[in-house]
């Protein structure tokens, strides 16, 4: 059975990746989620013209289980999420940090599936930065909020890095000569998210309405 199992597992993975990749990364939760979101449904259904076609159609059909296939919609509009405030968070009034990094071009596909989340929004939409220290040094993150939910936490500065790699006797010689740790990948070395907790905390403090 075992040899066959290896093939079967491979088949399951192949199907999984192909199917989900083809369907795209939008899913609208049926029934209960829709109910939970109904309190703020006006926000979803009257979503601003700024939202893309994909996002508008997703919110309109939020009560039915649809899998939107608008996978490759363009996602350059870094400002669309800002305009897409839910009705309750009237505090659109600018925080300076909202403008932020050029890298916050959030994907419209990711944002549209979040359109129901507004009811539980604790955070203002936008991108907020925070800086903290960890055992290696200083790091900064840029946390992007869309529709009240965290959609991205990007490491913008990470002053540290594997201090001993360069002098590790086990290190292949070429690494030492190239002085570039980056092209060597480590399996098992999770830089713990705890290392970024402080930076994330400060970013989320700014995001709190």
């Amino acid at each position: 059975m075992a040899k066959k199992m290896g093939k079967r597992l491979m088949g399951i993975c192949g199907v999984a990746v192909t199917a989900v990749y083809a369907a795209g990364y939008i899913y609208t939760m049926p029934s209960a989620q829709a109910n939970a979101a109904s309190a703020s449904l006006p926000a979803a259904s009257t979503s601003t013209p700024a939202s893309s076609g994909a996002s508008a159609s997703a919110s309109a059909s939020s009560s039915t289980p649809t899998t939107n296939t608008a996978k490759h919609t363009s996602k350059q509009h870094s400002t669309s999420s800002q305009n897409h405030q839910s009705t309750k968070s009237s505090s659109t009034s600018s925080t300076s940090s909202t403008s932020s990094t050029s890298t916050s071009k959030s994907s419209s596909s990711a944002s549209s599936k979040k359109s129901q989340a507004a009811s539980t929004a604790k955070y203002k939409d936008g991108t907020f930065t925070g800086t903290g220290t960890n055992s290696y040094g200083t790091c900064s993150v840029a946390v992007t909020i869309q529709h009240g939910k965290i959609v991205s936490a990007k490491i913008t500065n990470y002053m540290m890095h594997y201090p001993q790699y360069y002098i590790d006797p086990q290190l292949p010689q070429e690494v030492v000569s190239m002085q570039t740790w980056q092209i060597y990948i480590v399996s098992g070395a999770t830089a713990s998210t705890y290392n970024f907790a402080e930076a994330v905390y400060y970013a989320l403090q700014k995001a709190k309405a």
Partner: protein
Amino acid sequence: MELPSKYRMTSDSRLLMGTLVNIQVVGNEVANVIDNAIEKAFSAMHFVEAMCSRFDDQSALRELCRHPGEWMKVPDVLFETLRLALTMSELTDGAFDPTIGNLLDRHGFNTHYLTGEVISIDADAQEKVSFRDISLDEEARNVYLHKPMLLDLGAVAKGFAVDLAAKELSEFKGVAINAGGDLFLKGVDPTGEIWKVGIQHPKDKEAMIAWLSITDAAVCTSGTYERRSPINQEIHHLFDFTTGQSTKGLVSCTVIAPFAMLADAVSTAAFVLGKDRALDFVNELELDALCIDDSLEISMTDAMERYLG
């Protein structure tokens, strides 16, 4: 000496799925093209997290867990993740089991990595459950939970996210994705050589215990040294579900497979099966593994040798 770099490398790191995720793309395309592709790859990973997270009460996984005793329509990504997880459960006679969520929760693995919020689960989810209490309808792609339970798909979902990200980046000369030890390598590194991967020393955070030369493959390491229970330091996050205990004997198990979701699931399962059964298990699946036991002795599958160096 200067770096003999043939290709430009673009690197981006995010916090995702409870870990630091780094994506490196090798290629001389214009920056905009590479940045957009990386953004898309992160979106794919975020989608998997949003659907399959145990820590987010708005995830499809948590929604499913709120409805035991009825057939539930779930998104493809959750269905496929569950299917692989349940297959691994069968293969390991339940040593690997996605209904482990409650157990992890009870041992304090219950805090969201970004917000610090502690997840609150239904009080009635206390009954003894196993993977056999889950049914899948392959035709309708529906899921039925026979008892209240909290699923944890961490082992498979993270790998799945890496596989989708890799798919989004498949057009480039080289790609390395590292999601907290779940790796996918493709093509070449910036020097035009195949990727070098260090396997972290289990006892020394800043040293490597072995080096692999590898590409077009996923590498995943499961180890006890990663996450300890905040309640009891003796307990780590890899449980043998049939005993309810953290596994002893192995400290780390690295598996190589064509998919990260497979490498992660198999390394977790092999680790949980323990020192005596891990390599046989991986061999039978025609994959490769390198295991390290608590006296730091290394053992590996026969074909593993070709990656070393």
